[in-house]
Symmetry: C2
Subunit: 280 residues, 2 copies
């Protein structure tokens, strides 16, 4: 496993793979890897001849009052975890390597001005722009993203379609702690009490899923139920709870086909997201 810090070096090593038409898989991450990330790397290792894992805490996807500076970093541990999971190359560019007086932004309209986009203006522009930079630099055949960032996955799929990228986007299941909390690099911010109360997120999603499976179709009452459950935890502050379709991310009134139930909830300063997709 090799580590590269500049695109020039990365391109040199990737060129023979490109030429021989070997299959390159890309796993873009912000580091501080957990089992969610390593599940993506493991899947990529099974499906490709070479796996590139990028580790880059991308400043342009953080708002001015967000946690860019304190976002957890541990490159040495990441290096080990990624290697064990099957990474062939780790790409860890510096910020000034990735951004040299940048003026170019990629925006996926409509899909990005709702859910997380409402409380994180500009976030998805930062995501799509850096992902395109990685796509163009690495030229992968497949790229892996976690379903935990459901809106991100849908936004990237739309960008890939709209811009004709010849890249297969593979969404991978959420990995959870034994008590159901979705793995997140930000979970380390949680106090013991916050961590305990945060289990309500998955519990509420599962409860709602069961209700849908048992025949409930009214989105309004389902949303009221999930909201009530989350509010039962005194440290939880709801950012949003939404039942939306998986294409346009528009609110649904009646559950049909496939519904994405997504939420963002703050515990103290820590904003957690989770979601579940239910098909009827």
């Amino acid at each position: 496993m090799k580590l590269y810090k500049t695109l020039e070096d990365l391109k040199k090593v990737l060129m023979p793979y490109d030429v021989k038409n070997k299959c390159i898989g890309l796993v873009p991450t912000m580091g501080f890897l957990h089992k969610g990330h390593t599940s993506l790397i493991e899947k990529a290792a099974k499906e490709n001849d070479m796996v590139v894992v990028s580790i880059f805490v991308n400043p342009t996807q953080f708002g001015p009052n967000e946690d860019y500076e304190k976002y957890p970093r541990d490159i040495k541990r990441d290096y080990e975890l990624a290697t064990q999971a099957g990474a062939d190359i780790i790409f860890t560019p510096e910020v000034n390597q990735m951004y040299d007086h940048p003026k170019t932004t990629i925006q996926v309209k409509e899909l990005t001005n709702k859910l997380c986009g409402l409380s994180r203006p500009g976030h998805f522009d930062g995501v799509t722009t850096v992902v395109a930079k990685l796509f163009n630099g690495v030229k992968p055949h497949k790229a892996y993203f976690g379903q935990k960032d459901a809106q991100q996955l849908i936004v990237i799929q739309k960008m890939v379609k709209d811009l004709n990228y010849d890249i297969e986007i593979i969404g991978c299941p959420i990995v959870r702690e034994s008590d159901g909390l979705a793995l997140s690099s930000r979970n380390v911010y949680l106090s013991t009490e916050e961590r305990k109360q945060a289990t309500i997120l998955y519990k509420s999603l599962i409860t709602i899923k069961d209700k849908i499976v048992n025949g409930e179709r009214d989105a309004k009452s389902l949303k009221e139920e999930i909201t009530r459950m989350i509010k039962s935890q005194p440290l939880a502050k709801i950012d949003y709870v939404a039942l939306v379709d998986v294409y346009a991310l528009e609110n649904v009134e009646q559950i049909k086909d496939k519904v994405l139930i997504a939420l963002a909830v703050k515990f103290g300063d820590t904003r957690l997201i989770d979601n579940i997709v239910v098909e009827v």
Copy 2:
């Protein structure tokens, strides 16, 4: 020479070139080819193993009151001219092939809100987005653009750098009629009298270049001179005349290093652009 109308078909034929690492050159055009376009295709044919010419009148780069509908088209003649010039593949997608409920836009900030961007809001977003789609679909090693659209060339070069595209952008000299008028598909719109008066554009650029070569360094007086010359033609309505640096497109006060003298002038409903780069 082969003609393809869908990206899927195009990809199938380009795949072996990609695999064997043959060099692919792309010449993006809006068709109604003239000697400016064919000079790009000829250069591309010399420098690549395969030349793809795209012909697509891109609706997203036209404003609501612009000439999208009446933009001249002659695909049969284009086919012949491109073949003679050395094109291996002509790609002529339909609008609904290129745009399927698109939500994604690429914007190069700062460089696009001046010069032509001022009178054509959104124009460059349409250009950069469609060029990225062609880049991702064709995966060229080199792409050719005319210097006549000087701002477009600079905007695309910045997009390529910002988004890490591994594509060499090659700017090619303006091709002119014997009386100096820059070739443009829009020249067919001009009446006999407009066509005659339009020669003032190149004459004024050459006059200013001579003045700079002879030592004049004051941009204000040079701009006054060029403005006076153009206004001597009663049918000319100036959109802008600008002396700017070739990186940020900022107005210069004193001529030094390299200056782009760019102008846009309307004759009747026809908006013509021209420019010259002078190095001191």
